[in-house]
Amino acid sequence: MAAAAAIIGNAPPAGESQMGPPVVCWLEECRKDSVPLVGGKCSSLGELIGAGVRVPPGFALTTEGYRRFLADAGGAAEIQSLLRGVDARDMGALETASASIRQAIEALPFSMELEDMIAECYRKLSVRCCMPAVPVAVRSSATAEDLPGASFAGQQDTFLWIRGVDDVLDRVRRCISSLFSARAIAYRANKGFDHDQVAICVGVQKMANSFTAGVMFTIHPANGDRSVIVIDSNFGFGESVVSGEVTPDHFVVNKITLDIIDRTISRKLVCYTVDPKTQKSQAVEVPFERQEVQSLIDDEITELAWLGKQIEKHYGCPMDIEWALDKDLPAGGNLFILQARPETVWSRKIQPGSAHAGGSAMDYILSSMLAGKKVG
């Protein structure tokens, strides 16, 4: 993990605001308890960095930055007026209101101070990544998103492969405006959340230029076995794995000893890579000679599983993790965690133990003997 620190570097505090909460901050400054300031996604990434996990570097426009943005340009009042009198049960009216609000927000200028701070963070990020105008992912990180029972997941927009300050600023605005999608407005109205009280944060993070990417569970998703780590991987971005578009390579690693106890190499027809011209993610055919090649080498599988084990240890529960192997960086320091959240399916169930546990060894032997072992 020493390599992680070297890549991320010791970034100076980003938010230079003299008083009050910062308007921007680096991901590594975020922690579990930063949710009100940076939202769920960014605080979780910050928590991972704090745990020593390598995460693509980035920064966040905080909820304070969001409020400042709306206040500086008088946006808050405009939104209030556009929402006035809208019936939350009338989807048509909601759509109309949402469209006007989003249009208004996307047209609002940043104040000079705010624009400078975001631009400076982006410049520093590019320097840290040793790339001019580093490609980034711009995505919203809602403060209410990870609240139990109030899932906004997927309701905010994500923009990939964004380069240059102007484009970054533009996408930040669009992320902010996504807080006012028709569905989000309706949801808040139904739940009784005040639109004033809800704030959004926007994360700007280096795009992992994945050679290979995928997901990892620190529990067996099929049988709930907690002693294994299961990895699915394909070439290119993780989209192909997450969406289920391809049958990925599948590895089962022993969590205790980190050896690979089962592997299935699939024929992988499609993967996602960036189109160098448009700088957009696109589906391409995997070259024939690579279709049945293992998409992660054994050492990488072991390293990834080790990382998964550390993340699980940090959170204290089985985890569902998205990861990527970055081709811009040398081996040994190129494995990144994009997202980690508690696994929810098996964690709620009871471990598949034995029906008649708890007695003496002799009782167990007898009852098992009577039950026998099914064959045929």
Partner: protein, 611 residues
């Protein structure tokens, strides 16, 4: 699941072997003339015991099969009253042994057996250590008795002492009696063999079963690792070789010990040096009992011991002298092995969520750890020490038979059943006493020539892994743990029958014996005498390994065997050395050739051949 009908298989006799049935006890036959037995045999699931018998049985060697047929079954069914299972039934086709666990079908009877089992097995589990100490005393006394047995020559005139001491018995009578004693000791030794083994395996099987319920993906090798003994006597023979290597260097006779691979030359050279004589004294101390280690599994007459083949331990000592001179450590990393065992156990335990499951884990682990040393240690006493002495005593009987012209070569004795030997000895002693020629001089040599031909044809026959009808449930602990009879293994066995084109096999599947992946050149060693050819880093491919192969493991990069499970010698030693092992592949030595490039994945149990 349906497998071939045993009677159909038997009906297709290999041409030229007709009448082979007389080479084995009659109760081992599949029959068609008894409708009840015929139906039972058809409805029963029989699997080929390739674990113990990778090759057809010689008529004499059937003794150990009969011994365990009796011993295992009686302990299950008549002594401990295991509720759902009686014994294990046996048959032979073309020299290959097929076995089948016999269930108790009546639920009421099972219920009646429960309290008996709890009381009886419970007594052994509760008093395990004390009873095991008694076992050692009984076993060692049995071996001493065996060593003391004399196989007398038949002199033309009996010694004068027979008269002066008024013995009143002849050497002819002693020959008959001592042969009986020899056989009886063998059967007795196998009675002891199973006194603890069923219960030991049961504790292991159900610990394994419990852990697999909690962790469905846990490899069996990890469970074994949690309970395997670190200081088991199985390692002692190898430790003695290391001690002798150090001693040779200490005395400065290492160059004499290593100057030749031929023990007779080395011994002669050592005898000329005072320091050499001192070293030989240390060697003699180590030889009894530790060199009574078989170079095979000990189950067959042709598995000779180190004491019989001193070139084998000599090569091991030479390997260790070489390692020490290179500055390498030859000590077993016991502290590391122990620490790793404890770490693995603690981590798995830490992943158990429910308190009662943790408690059950502790109970079963404790029980398995108590009983498991026996499961490993009995092998040295019975299969190695006792058997090694036993085979040589039988050879002494062979010498007498040859002297009297009943067999032409000492090693021909193995082609006779033990009761046929007894008859032949009667023939010999009565003829000797009477002063006439034994009738057997004209009948046995001819029969032996024919039987040798039959054995050769048997060896070329492919024994189907399973015949008859598979049951839905198997309760017999041995069947599960030793032969690994599971859904998967049945399917694999069905697949094995299709391997008729060894030149094109690219992948072999076995048990994941010891984790890790390695690529390297294969070296096929069919017997331990070939391990001298191993080069550093090669992959050892062997029918099976035993403690006498231990020095080979200091050189190799991985190991692949035909026969054995996760508790087999190769798997255990490879885990200690931290090198991959794939065991129980069925036919690696038939398919792999020396020099082939292999990829051995000891975590998944796959061996890939680069072709």
């Amino acid at each position: 699941m349906k497998f071939p009908n045993p009677h159909d298989i038997k009906a297709k006799a290999i041409p030229g072997t007709e009448g082979w049935e007389r080479m084995y006890p009659y109760q081992y036959q599949f029959v068609t003339d008894d409708p009840v037995r015929n139906q039972y045999e058809k409805d029963t699931f029989w699997f080929y015991d390739g674990l113990h018998y990778p090759e057809p049985l010689y008529p004499f060697d059937t003794i150990w099969d009969e011994a365990w047929y009796l011993a295992l079954s009686q302990f299950n069914n008549r002594i401990f009253m295991v509720p759902p299972v009686r014994g294990v039934d046996h048959r032979i086709i073309n020299g290959y042994v097929y076995i089948s666990p016999v269930p108790v079908k009546d639920p009421e009877e099972i219920g009646r057996r429960v309290p008996n089992f709890m009381e009886r097995a419970g007594f052994y589990y509760k008093n395990w250590d004390e009873l095991e100490a008694k076992w050692k005393v009984k076993m060692e006394a049995t071996i001493r008795e065996l060593e003391a047995i004399k196989i007398p020559r038949l002199a033309d005139m009996e010694d004068m002492s027979v008269v002066t001491d008024a013995i009143g018995e002849s050497k002819g009578y002693h020959l008959l009696k001592n042969y009986d004693d020899l056989i009886n000791l063998g059967i007795k030794c196998w009675q002891y063999h199973f006194e603890f083994l069923n219960l030991g395996y049961a504790a292991y099987v159900f610990f394994l079963d419990f852990v697999q319920k909690l962790f469905p993906s846990i490899p069996a090798q990890r469970v074994t690792q949690m309970i395997s003994g670190i200081d088991v006597i199985m390692y002692q023979p190898d430790e003695e070789l290391k001690k002798l290597a150090r001693k040779a260097l200490e005395l400065g006779v290492d160059s004499v010990v290593t100057f030749s691979k031929d023990w007779t030359q080395v011994e002669a050279a050592l005898k000329k040096l005072p320091k050499g004589v001192e070293w030989l004294t240390s060697l003699d101390l180590a030889r009894e009992p530790w060199f009574n280690i078989s170079t095979g599994t000990g189950w067959f007459h042709h598995d000779r011991s180190w004491n019989d083949q001193m070139n084998v331990p000599l090569s091991g000592i030479a390997t260790y002298i070489g390692k020490i001179k290179q500055g390498a450590s030859i000590d077993r990393p016991t502290a590391k092995v122990r620490a790793e065992r404890d770490r693995i156990t603690a981590e798995y335990r830490g992943l158990i969520e429910k308190e009662e499951d943790r408690k059950q884990f502790d109970e079963l682990l404790g029980c398995a750890k108590t009983v498991f040393p026996y499961v490993e240690n009995h092998l040295f006493y019975v299969e190695h020490w006792f058997h090694s002495v036993f085979w040589n005593k039988v050879r002494e009987v062979g010498v007498i038979m040859k002297e009297h012209g009943v067999i032409e070569d000492v090693e021909d004795i193995w082609l006779l059943r033990r009761d046929e030997i007894k008859s032949a000895l009667w023939d010999i002693v009565t003829a000797w006493a009477t002063g006439v020629t034994p009738r057997g001089t004209k009948t046995w040599p001819k029969e032996i020539v024919w039987r040798k031909g039959v054995m050769q044809k048997f060896k070329e026959w492919n024994a189907p892994p399973a015949i008859g009808t598979a049951p839905e449930v198997i309760q017999e602990p041995f069947t599960i743990v030793l032969w690994g009879v599971t859904n998967k293994s049945l399917a694999d066995w069905a697949a094995v029958q299709d391997v008729r084109d060894p030149a094109n096999v690219k992948e072999l599947k076995g048990f994941a014996g010891s984790p890790g992946i390695i690529e390297g050149k294969a070296r096929v060693c069919k017997t331990v005498s070939e391990v001298g050819e191993l080069l550093e880093g090669e992959i050892l491919v062997a029918p099976t390994t035993s403690p006498s192969w231990a020095p080979a493991f200091a050189k190799i990069g991985a190991c692949v065997t035909d026969v054995g499970g996760v508790m087999s010698h190769a798997a255990i030693v490879c885990r200690e050395y931290g090198m991959p092992a794939v065991v129980g592949t069925g036919h690696a030595t038939k398919i792999i050739r020396t020099g082939m490039m292999l990829r051995v994945d000891g975590s998944t149990g796959a061996v890939t051949i680069a072709r």
